[in-house]
């Protein structure tokens, strides 16, 4: 997969790489059981300290997004959620509220936000 690092960004390199992998999986560009580049390969490719990449993989593994198969490499995990339906809904509401208050502060109309939202939703891979 194609990872880009912007060193002038305020977002730390570590978080940039995490976000891009999460996004690629959510958009279906990376599928469950796809193999990721090794720490060395990705470190070479984007010219970043291998420890940073290792940290990214560890973090995403902790979140259940990736898993390491000893001797084989790092793979995209099967989607699963340990959370109850209620907990997931609460989390969603929390994120929606943050998103919507951002949109309101940007001075957008309801229609504009709804249109952009629907447009963007098509880019992601949804369950079922």
């Amino acid at each position: 997969m194609d990872v880009q690092v912007d060193v002038s960004s305020r977002v730390p390199i570590y978080r940039q790489v995490c976000d891009q992998i999460r996004l690629a999986i959510a958009q279906g560009k990376l599928q469950p059981n796809d193999k990721l580049s090794s720490v060395r390969e990705l470190s070479r490719q984007i010219v970043v300290n291998p420890n940073t990449i290792a940290r990214v993989y560890t973090e995403l593994e902790r979140e259940g997004i990736l898993n390491t198969r000893p001797g084989l490499g790092v793979f995209v995990a099967e989607p699963r959620s340990d959370l109850t339906k209620k907990a997931r809904r609460e989390k969603l509401m929390e994120q929606l509220n943050a998103f919507l208050s951002g949109a309101v502060h940007l001075g957008l109309t309801q229609d504009e936000v709804l249109k952009a939202f629907e447009e963007q939703m098509k880019k992601f891979q949804w369950k079922g």
Partner: protein, 310 residues
């Protein structure tokens, strides 16, 4: 603390020139296996520090240990485990690449010639060419190849990308990444290019006027320094004494602060000063460094050296 646990350990290292303390009571402890970026403005004492570590300058007081051995009285066998690349990659211009490799080899007992050949081939450095005819970038690569040939455990580089253009700098960084892949090796480099440091350094140390004022993981430093924008009512509040505030100014009716370690204490202080709509932004490494080291006349606040994990 045992010096041998660290690749570099210094104890109250001090050196003055003309009565000015260029390096002032420096206590460095660089863990083995780390990539350490030594940062500071010109004249902060980085080069003098590196010269004391490599034994080229004698300290007025204090001690330094490399890989657990005191720099004073270090045996040649021990010194071979340490490689040093000086600023501007000084090499004899009248030698060819091949000759300068052979010259360097004559001082060493350990030498991995195939590694040298591999690096030079990979970078297409013409070995018959005289060093005076090479570009700055090629010279940098030659000195890196020579430094790596004895397979050192500790590599010290003084501003290795100084004077290199963007493309050549990237080539050099890619070589550095390869060097980092050799696990267990410690790399210490000084640089003015903060973006390079951000890519390759685990830890940063920042020197201001001869003193080490920051020594922590790179991400911890960058996330500790924040630019806070807020609004206030009435007269501009005096924020200079607030915890962690290192700079405060008012622009366009808004309060702009540079804060190290955004604390609850500070938030409470904002409340009592009627400061509202507080927005604390993280900065990139370069901006964090600039804001932190600017105006060094005032004393910098105590910097929490290690992140506190909840």
């Amino acid at each position: 603390m045992v010096p041998s646990d660290y690749a570099i350990f210094t104890d109250h290292l001090t050196r003055s020139y003309d009565g000015r303390r260029v390096v002032d009571d420096l206590n460095l402890a660089i863990p083995r296996g780390s990539v350490y970026g030594l940062l500071g403005r010109n004249g902060a004492g980085k080069s003098t520090t590196i010269k004391m570590l490599t034994g080229m300058v004698q300290p007025d007081s204090g001690d330094a240990w490399l890989l657990g051995e005191n720099v004073v009285g270090m045996t040649p066998q021990h010194r071979e485990r340490v490689a040093y690349i000086a600023e501007n990659h000084p090499l004899y211009g009248w030698m060819t690449v091949r000759e300068s490799v052979a010259f360097a080899r004559s001082f060493q007992t350990r030498w991995n010639q195939s590694l040298v050949e591999m690096i030079l081939d990979h970078l297409e450095v013409p070995q018959r060419r005289k060093l005076s005819q090479l570009s700055n970038g090629q010279r940098a690569q030659v000195s890196l190849a020579i430094a790596l040939a004895p397979e050192p455990e500790l590599l010290i580089l003084d501003d290795p990308t100084l004077g290199l253009d963007t493309v050549v700098r990237r080539d050099f960084l890619e070589s550095m990444i390869e060097v980092i892949h050799e696990s267990g090796r410690t790399i210490v480099l000084s640089s003015h290019i903060l973006m390079d440091i951000d890519r390759i350094a685990d830890r940063v140390g920042i020197m201001v006027k001869g003193r080490l004022v920051v020594d922590c993981p790179t991400d911890h430093f960058r996330s500790s320094v924040r630019r806070v924008v807020a609004s206030f009512s009435g007269d501009a509040p005096d924020c200079s004494g607030l915890p962690g505030v290192i700079n405060a100014r008012v622009t366009r009716g808004q309060l702009e602060l540079i804060v190290v370690g955004f604390s609850e204490e500070l938030e409470q202080a904002f409340c009592s000063l009627n400061i509202r709509n507080v927005d604390a932004q993280e900065l990139n490494l370069e901006d964090a460094f600039i804001e932190f080291t600017r105006g060094s006349r005032r004393s910098l606040p105590p910097f929490s050296m290690e992140p506190v994990y909840a």
